[in-house]
């Protein structure tokens, strides 16, 4: 993570962007711009959280780890959200690990400052509550997805989601990392990706994934893809009451 002086504009995180200019200006002195590398750990599980992050182009996965060290992703956070909801809800630790999936920038705010700035009924609190509601819906869906949907469906969903976040049909991602997110073995990811490739849906070479046929891939994805999109698109269109 590298820190740089805060650029005021453009505001790329949607929660921050939805604030009134006056409110944003008030928060700005408390915000610091950071840049993450791929694979960086933002939070370790059960660690005290010193700061929260409003991602810009970076994408962070919240990962739950079982006692026997196996992992599965429960939620993805990008420019629509905040990493560190727990702090906002009054917790001090996070039960999940947060890992950078797509490198990029984020705005950092100390937990202490967040607690001080977010007043009950304030616009920023309403935006954060609204995001929390969507995030709860997404992690609940993850429970069903990880249990009922096959690896191929889940891989298709995951690739589409990442491509949406990257804003590009092409992005870098290693199979090992995908396997850890889906909670499957690497060979399972290889096989499913191989089938997609054979069907002309994707091209995968040395960690570089290209989506060749998005509609085709969407047909192979589980309903969770649409569900998650709806949740986050709803955040964009519907301003909280």
């Amino acid at each position: 993570m590298t820190r740089t002086p805060t650029p005021a504009l453009p505001i790329r995180n949607r929660i921050l962007a939805a604030l009134l200019a006056t409110e944003y200006e008030r928060l700005l002195p408390r915000l610091e711009h950071v840049t993450w590398k791929r694979g960086e750990t933002v939070y370790r599980a059960d660690q005290k959280i010193d700061a929260v992050y409003f991602p810009e182009d970076a994408v962070v996965a919240m990962v739950d780890t079982t006692h026997d060290r196996r992992t599965v992703e429960v939620g993805i956070i990008g420019r629509e959200g905040i990493v560190g909801i727990n702090i906002f809800l009054g917790g001090v630790v996070t039960p999940d690990r947060a890992i950078v999936q797509l490198p990029g920038g984020a705005m950092r705010m100390k937990s202490r400052d967040l607690r001080r700035e977010v007043r009950f009924g304030s616009p920023v609190q309403r935006l954060l509550l609204n995001y929390t509601r969507s995030f709860v819906a997404v992690i609940s869906q993850s429970v069903a997805c990880s249990q009922h949907h096959g690896i191929e469906q889940r891989l298709a969903r995951w690739l589409l989601t990442m491509s949406d976040y990257a804003g590009s049909r092409e992005f870098l991602m290693f199979q090992q990392s995908i396997a850890a997110m889906l909670g499957v073995r690497r060979v399972g990811v290889s096989e499913a990706a191989g089938r997609f490739q054979a069907d002309g849906l994707i091209n995968y070479r040395r960690g570089r994934i290209s989506l060749l046929d998005r509609p085709g891939l969407a047909k192979r994805a589980c309903e969770c893809y649409r569900f998650i999109r709806q949740q986050y698109d709803g955040l964009r269109s519907g301003r909280p009451r």
Binding site: L89, L114, F120, R126, R133, V143, S146, H148
Partner: protein, 245 residues
């Protein structure tokens, strides 16, 4: 006026004055096994604070498959979306243990919620706890076999009903665990053979609590810790996150 301590631990954690003020709007109700409190997409009419009752949150997959994502008892509240500014439930809330609860009409609750920083603090913290329970469930369902998950589920129920005996059908447990009935039957038999529970036509008796804990996956301990040791408040004075505007 002497007010007995609330059976629900969130209400019990409120300062006496706050609780007494809330009490006027709270209505004691009995929730019965199988009652549906919310359906996905429906408007939330009441908030429920379970006492001896137990409520499951179920998510639907592919339109029909139900699967439990969270379990709420005396440690929690049913109606989290309201606290997050929405009046529509995303999940089905199904009563899975008959018992007492206190409920309050949604509009009245929101009024009280806005006015009471201690209530906000308790309920937002509980939201955090429930989120942890949900994400743990995602990992648990992904990796752990039915028998250990059944053990975990029975322990969670046992904790909340505070009784060694309760009624649950195989079909119902199948929904909770997202597996077929035959899978539940096999797992229940295995636990019975190990003399951890006795099971007869939906009547479950916990015979060996410690043994059941040993049989459950570690997820049980994780979730239990989250409930027992509610995260401590921040070092700063008060909780400005939830302070009244």
């Amino acid at each position: 006026m002497l007010v007995p301590r609330a059976p629900n631990s969130l209400l019990a954690a409120l300062p006496g004055r706050e609780y007494r003020r809330l009490l006027a709007g709270l209505e004691p109700v009995t929730l019965t096994f199988g009652d549906v409190l919310y359906e996905p997409g429906e408007t939330i009419r009441h908030v429920y604070f379970p006492g001896t009752s137990l409520v499951s949150l179920l998510t639907l997959a592919d339109g029909h498959l139900a699967l439990e994502v969270g379990l709420i008892g005396r440690d929690g509240v049913v109606g989290i979306p309201l606290m997050l500014g929405h009046d529509v439930s995303a999940v089905r809330a199904l009563v899975q243990g008959t018992g007492t609860a206190m409920r309050m009409a949604a509009a009245q609750f929101l009024k009280a919620f806005r006015r009471s920083p201690p209530l906000q603090r308790e309920l937002y913290r509980y939201t955090h706890t429930l989120m942890a329970q949900i994400s743990q469930t995602a990992a648990c369902n992904r990796f752990h076999v039915v028998e250990t998950r059944l053990a975990r589920w029975l322990l969670m129920t046992h904790d909340r009903v505070k009784s060694d005996r309760f009624r649950l059908t195989h079909e119902f447990l199948g929904h909770m665990l997202g597996v077929r009935r035959v899978g539940v039957t096999k797992a229940a038999q295995a636990l019975q053979e190990r003399k951890l529970i006795s099971y007869s036509r939906g009547d479950i008796t916990v015979l060996d609590r410690a043994g059941l804990e040993a049989a459950a996956c570690a997820c049980y301990e994780v979730v239990k810790d989250m409930h027992d040791g509610a995260p401590a408040g921040p070092a700063t004075t008060g909780m400005p996150v939830i302070a009244a505007a």
